[in-house]
C-alpha cells in the first residue's frame, strides 16, 4: 500500500480547510486507516483569533498520530508523547504524539516546506499511512511537500459565486499544467538553446526587471531557445513583460518550478491571464514538478465585517456549489451539504480501488 501525504489548503482564511480536514479525519477513522495529522499554521482553537467567531473543532480518535507543538500537548493525558522533531515554530518545537483516547487537538506545525518534509517523514516512519496537512490562511507554497492536494475555496475569499468560479478555474488551470521533469536549481535560470545553454543567477522572484533580463539574455544567446526554466514565483506583470521580451523569438517552452510557486506569485486570475497571453503567442507552458490536485471544496460561510466586529454570514450553498462545479473539470464538493464519502473515495479509494497515488 502506498503511503500518502494529503494537504488541505485554502484560497483564504475561513474557506473551510478545517471542516474539510475534520470530515476526512472522520472518514479515515471509520475506515480504520492509520492517520497522522499536522498543520503549516495554527488551528483547533475555539474562537478565531482575528474574527472572534466560533471555529470548527478538530477531533481525533485513539491511535491517530499528531505532530504539533509541545505547549499544545502539555498537561494532556489523552496524548502519548513519542518524540521531539527538530522543527521549531512560533509556538515552540514540534513534537510527535499518539492519541490515547478520542479528544480535541490544537495543531501547530512547520511553517515551511522543508520543515513539513521532516515532519511528514516522521509521521510515515511511525506508521502513518495517510498523513494530513492542515493549511493556514491562503498559504499554499509549503504544500509542495505533499503528494496530493485539496483546495478549499468559498465565500470568505469573496462572497461572489461568479468570481469564485472564475478563480477556481484559474487555480485548476495552474495546478494542472503538464509536468516536464528535468534538472533545475532554485538559484539558476536556465535558457537552453538548440546548440548551447545559458544559466543566470536567479533572483528567485521574476519581477519586471528580471523578466526583461531573462528575455534579453535569451535573445542575446542566439535566439531560438527551446526552453526557459524559471525556478520561482512570477507576478502576472512580470510574465506579461517576459512575453513582450520574447516576441520575435520562436516558440519557447516555459518551465516553472511548481504550480504552487506560480500561485504564490500573485492573484490566480491575473497569473492565469498572463499565461494565456504566453500561450496565445505560441509558447508552451510546463512545470518541473507537477501537483496532484484531487479536487476543490466550497464553503458558503463567511465572516461579514460590520465596523469593528464580525458576524457569521452565508451564501446560497447550492448556487455556490453549482457555479464552481460548472467552471472546472475536477471534483468539487461541499462536505457539509453533500457529506464526505465521495471525497474520501477519491482520497483512499472504494473497495478494490486504490484512490489517488
Amino acid at each position: 500500500m502506498k503511503r500518502r501525504c494529503l494537504g488541505v489548503a485554502g484560497t483564504a482564511k475561513n474557506t473551510g480547510k478545517t471542516t474539510t480536514l475534520a470530515a476526512i479525519l472522520r472518514e479515515a477513522a471509520a475506515a480504520k486507516v492509520a492517520v497522522g495529522v499536522t498543520s503549516i499554521g495554527y488551528d483547533g482553537e475555539d474562537l478565531d483569533h482575528i474574527t472572534g467567531l466560533p471555529k470548527p473543532r478538530l477531533l481525533v480518535t485513539a491511535g491517530t498520530l499528531v505532530a504539533t507543538v509541545e505547549p499544545a500537548l502539555a498537561g494532556r493525558p489523552d496524548f502519548e508523547v513519542l518524540e521531539g522533531i527538530p522543527v521549531r515554530t512560533a509556538l515552540g518545537r514540534v513534537t510527535l504524539a499518539r492519541v490515547v483516547r478520542p479528544t480535541r487537538v490544537i495543531l501547530a506545525g512547520p511553517a515551511g516546506a522543508a520543515g513539513l518534509r521532516t515532519v511528514l517523514d516522521r509521521l510515515r516512519q511511525n506508521g502513518s499511512d495517510l498523513a494530513l496537512v492542515d493549511g493556514a490562511f491562503g498559504r499554499l507554497a509549503p504544500m509542495t511537500a505533499v503528494d496530493g492536494l485539496l483546495i478549499a475555496t468559498g465565500a470568505a475569499r469573496r462572497p461572489d459565486p461568479a468570481f469564485l468560479a472564475r478563480e477556481a478555474a484559474a487555480i485548476t488551470r495552474l495546478c494542472t499544467l503538464p509536468e516536464m521533469p528535468g534538472e533545475g536549481r532554485k538559484d539558476l535560470v536556465r535558457v537552453r538553446g538548440p546548440v548551447s545553454s545559458l544559466t543566470l543567477p536567479y533572483p528567485a522572484l521574476l519581477d519586471l526587471h528580471w523578466a526583461e533580463e531573462v528575455a534579453g539574455r535569451a535573445r542575446a544567446a542566439g535566439g531560438f531557445p527551446t526552453d526557459i526554466y524559471l525556478p520561482g514565483p512570477a507576478s502576472a506583470a512580470a510574465l506579461e513583460r517576459l512575453g513582450q521580451g520574447l516576441s520575435g523569438i520562436g516558440p519557447v517552452t516555459l518551465v516553472f518550478s511548481h504550480p504552487l510557486h506560480l500561485l504564490a506569485g500573485g492573484e490566480a486570475l491575473a497569473v492565469s491571464a498572463a499565461l494565456d497571453g504566453l500561450e496565445s503567442a505560441g509558447h508552451r507552458l510546463a512545470v518541473r514538478q507537477g501537483l496532484r490536485l484531487l479536487g476543490l471544496t466550497v464553503n458558503p460561510y463567511y465572516p461579514a465585517r460590520e465596523g469593528a466586529v464580525y458576524r457569521a454570514a452565508q451564501l446560497d450553498s447550492a448556487e455556490l456549489l453549482a457555479s464552481v462545479r460548472a467552471a472546472v473539470d475536477i471534483p468539487v464538493t461541499d462536505v457539509v451539504l453533500e457529506g464526505s464519502q465521495a471525497l474520501w473515495d477519491r482520497i483512499w479509494g472504494r473497495a478494490g480501488e486504490e484512490g489517488y497515488g
Binding site: 499554521g41 495554527y42 509556538l91 490562511f137 498559504r139 528567485a204 520561482g232 504564490a264
Partner: protein, 610 residues
C-alpha cells in the same frame, strides 16, 4: 556570537518606530542591518531580501483589514522563492500574538510590550535575558530611617501625656477580645507542641479551645460545638485547598514594574473576594501587574461577633474570613517579595487578628481604635483596651502597623482625625512599635462642605502630608485607597483619578499608597480582576509620566497645612482637658455627631479591670 544580517521591513504606511528601536539594539550588538522604507509590497520586500541575503527578516505591521493576508502572502513568496528554509522570519505589531504568528507562517511573533532584547535574542537564536530589575523581589521595610520623634514641642508634650496615660489605662483592663487573643497564642503554641514560651510543658489544646469558645458569641460557639455553620460560609473543598497549595510562590515569576525611576511609593492593593482561592488568583494578577503589597479585607459582620472560627472557609459575600488556615494559604500564595497586611483596626477580635497575622507571616497590620470606634461601630472603651493589646502584640511580633484615618469619610475633619492618628502612633512607639501614618487622599464630606477641593484635588491632599511631616517623623502611606470618593462607575475615570492621586503621592515621595480597583467603588459586589489591572497600569503610567518631575501645589497648600497643624494642636489640647482618651472619644472631641460620627456600640460593657 556570529554577526547576523537582518532586514527590517516596516509594512505599515506610517509606523516603524518599533523596528527602529530593534534596529538600534541590533546595531549596538554588532549585527548588520538594513531597514527598508515603509509600505513596500510583499514582492518588493522579497526582491530586496534576495539582494541583501539576510539571515533574518523582521516585519512590522499594525493589523488592519486584510493585513493578515498580506503578511501571509509575504511568507508564501519567501517560500516559493526558495528563501524560507534559510531565512528566519519574525513579525511584530500591536495585535500580533504567538498563535497568529504561527498561523501566518512566521517563526516568531512580537506583540505589545516586546523589548528590543527579545528581538535581538530571536536574531541571535537564543532565549531572551529577563530584565534584571523587574525580577528583583526585595521586601522593603517601610519604616526604615524614621526616628518617630515629634518635631513640635507642644505636640511632643501632648502626645507623650495622652499616649502614656492611654497605654496605662488600657493595660489595667482586659476584654473578651484580649483574653481570646491570649488563649489563641497558647493554643497555637500547644498545637505546635511548644510551651507558652516560658519553659512549661505544652498545655492541652482541647482545654484551651474550650476556654476560648466560652469567650465567643453564640454563632461562633455553635461552629466549635458542631451544631451549625456560621452564616454565609462553607468549608473549602479538598480541591480548593489543593488549588491554594498549588498557588504557592512559583519563583522566577515575571512581573511588570509599576514604578519608573522612583523607589517610592510602594503600591498596595486590597483583596477580599470571600474566597481564598479567588483571592490568590486576584493577588497573582495584581502582582503580575506590579503591585508591591496586598491588604486583606475581612467581612464586616465578623467584626461585630466575638470570636473567630478555624479552618479553610469561603464566604459567599465580600470579605474573606480571618482564619489562620485561610491566612496561611493566601500568604503562601504571594510572591516572596510581596508585602502583606492583615488589618486589625476595628471590631471585637482585633488582638487575636494580630496574633493570627503574625502566625501566618504577615508583614504589616493596621490599628486605630479612634477610627474603629468612631467610624466603624466598635465601642470606644472596648477598642482602646483591645487596641493597646494590639499595639503590644504587633511590637512583640515586629509587625509595623499603619494608623488609618478613615473617620474622615464619615465627616470628621482631617485635623481631628490626624490628632487621633498621632496619638495612636505615639502609643505604638511607647510600646516599642513602628507605626505608619495613613492620611486619606480623598474627597471627604468635610472637604466638600468647606470647598477645599472646588479648585483642585492637589492642594489639600498635599497639605495633609506637609502638616504631618511638620509635626512628626514617621513613614506616610496615603490611602486607603487614594482618591476615595472621587471614583465613579466609569472605569476609565476611576483609573485616571487613581493615577492622578498617585502622581501627587510620588511627588511627595511618600512611602506607600493603597489603590482601589477601577470598579471598587461601584462594583456592587465582586471586583473584576481586569479592574485591578486598570488602576495598576494607570498608576504605572502616572509614574512613567512624571519620572523625577513633580506635581507642584499652589500656595494654598501651605496655608491649609498650617491650618491642619493648628487643628491638630487644638484637638490635642481639648483631649488633655478630658479625664482620658476614652472619655474624649465618647465626648466627641475626636469626632462628634455634628461631624457625622457616633461612638460605636459593639462590645460595650465588656471591659473589666484586670
Amino acid at each position: 556570537m556570529a554577526r547576523r544580517k537582518v532586514l527590517l521591513a516596516p509594512m505599515d504606511p506610517v509606523h516603524d518606530v518599533g523596528l527602529k528601536l530593534v534596529q538600534r539594539a541590533l546595531d549596538a550588538a554588532g549585527h548588520s542591518t538594513l531597514r527598508l522604507p515603509p509600505d513596500l509590497s510583499a514582492e518588493e520586500i522579497v526582491s530586496r531580501a534576495i539582494e541583501y541575503q539576510p539571515d533574518t527578516v523582521l516585519v512590522g505591521r499594525t493589523l488592519g483589514y486584510n493585513v493578515p493576508e498580506v503578511l501571509a502572502r509575504l511568507v508564501d513568496l519567501m517560500e516559493a522563492a526558495g528563501m524560507r528554509s534559510r531565512v528566519r522570519l519574525g513579525v511584530g505589531g500591536m495585535a500580533i500574538r504567538p498563535e497568529l504568528a504561527a498561523e501566518l507562517g512566521y517563526d516568531r511573533g512580537f506583540g505589545p510590550g516586546t523589548s528590543p532584547e527579545e528581538a535581538l535574542a530571536f536574531v541571535e537564536g537564543r532565549e531572551p535575558q529577563p530584565p534584571a530589575a523587574a525580577q528583583t523581589l526585595e521586601k522593603p521595610d517601610l519604616t526604615a530611617g524614621y526616628g518617630y520623634l515629634a518635631k513640635d514641642r507642644e505636640v511632643a508634650t501632648s502626645l507623650e501625656a495622652i499616649a502614656t496615660a492611654a497605654v496605662a489605662w488600657g493595660k489595667a483592663r482586659t476584654s473578651p477580645g484580649v483574653e481570646r487573643a491570649r488563649l489563641r497564642r497558647r493554643l497555637l503554641a500547644a498545637e505546635a507542641g511548644a510551651g507558652a514560651g516560658d519553659g512549661r510543658v505544652p498545655e492541652s489544646a482541647e482545654a484551651l479551645r474550650r476556654a476560648y469558645v466560652r469567650e465567643c458569641d453564640p454563632p461562633i460557639r455553635a461552629f466549635y460545638e458542631g451544631t451549625g455553620p456560621v452564616g454565609k460560609t462553607r468549608p473549602l473543598s479538598p480541591d480548593e485547598i489543593a488549588a491554594l497549595a498549588a498557588a504557592a510562590d512559583p519563583g522566577g515569576f515575571e512581573r511588570r514594574r509599576v514604578r519608573h525611576l522612583q523607589t517610592r511609593p510602594r503600591v498596595f492593593v486590597q483583596y477580599g473576594t470571600g474566597c481564598p482561592v479567588m483571592d490568590s488568583a486576584h493577588n497573582r494578577v495584581a502582582e503580575a501587574w506590579g503591585a508591591d503589597g496586598l491588604v486583606h479585607f475581612d467581612p464586616s459582620w465578623a467584626a461585630r461577633t466575638e470570636g473567630l472560627i478555624e479552618g479553610h472557609h469561603s464566604h459567599e459575600e465580600d470579605g474573606t474570613l480571618l482564619t489562620l488556615a485561610n491566612l496561611r494559604s493566601i500568604g503562601r500564595a504571594r510572591l516572596s517579595g510581596t508585602l502583606w497586611q492583615v488589618r486589625a483596626h476595628r471590631g471585637l477580635n482585633t488582638p487575636e487578628i494580630v496574633v493570627l497575622a503574625a502566625a501566618a507571616g504577615a508583614d504589616l497590620t493596621k490599628v486605630n481604635p479612634v477610627y474603629g470606634s468612631l467610624g466603624a461601630g466598635t465601642d470606644p472603651e472596648r477598642l482602646v483596651v483591645d487596641g493597646v493589646e494590639c499595639l503590644s502584640l504587633a511590637a512583640a511580633a515586629g509587625l509595623p502597623l499603619d494608623v488609618v484615618t478613615n473617620e474622615e469619610l464619615c465627616g470628621v475633619p482631617a485635623g481631628k482625625a490626624f490628632a487621633g492618628m498621632l496619638i495612636i502612633a505615639a502609643m505604638a512607639v511607647h510600646l516599642g512599635g513602628r507605626p505608619i501614618l495613613q492620611p486619606l487622599f480623598c474627597l471627604s464630606p468635610d472637604v466638600m462642605v468647606t470647598g477645599r477641593m472646588d479648585d483642585n484635588f492637589v492642594d489639600y491632599n498635599m497639605a495633609k502630608v506637609m502638616a504631618l511631616r511638620q509635626l512628626y517623623d514617621a513613614p506616610i502611606w496615603p490611602g486607603a485607597p487614594i482618591g476615595f470618593l472621587t471614583h465613579t462607575e466609569d472605569r476609565v475615570q476611576s483609573a485616571t483619578s487613581t493615577a492622578l492621586h498617585a502622581a501627587i503621592a510620588v511627588s511627595l515621595e511618600v512611602d506607600a499608597i493603597t489603590i482601589a480597583s477601577a470598579d471598587e467603588a461601584y462594583s456592587g459586589g465582586s471586583i473584576a480582576a481586569a479592574s485591578r489591572v486598570d488602576t495598576l497600569l494607570a498608576t504605572a503610567e502616572a509614574f512613567r509620566f512624571l519620572g523625577s518631575a513633580k506635581v507642584a501645589p499652589t500656595p494654598r497648600a501651605r496655608e491649609w497645612a498650617d491650618e491642619l497643624v493648628a487643628q491638630i494642636k487644638d484637638t490635642l489640647r481639648r483631649i488633655l482637658e478630658r479625664p482620658s482618651l476614652v472619655d474624649a472619644l465618647y465626648a466627641g472631641v475626636l469626632g462628634s455627631p455634628a461631624d457625622g460620627v457616633y461612638p460605636g456600640r459593639a462590645g460595650r460593657g465588656t471591659v473589666r479591670l484586670r
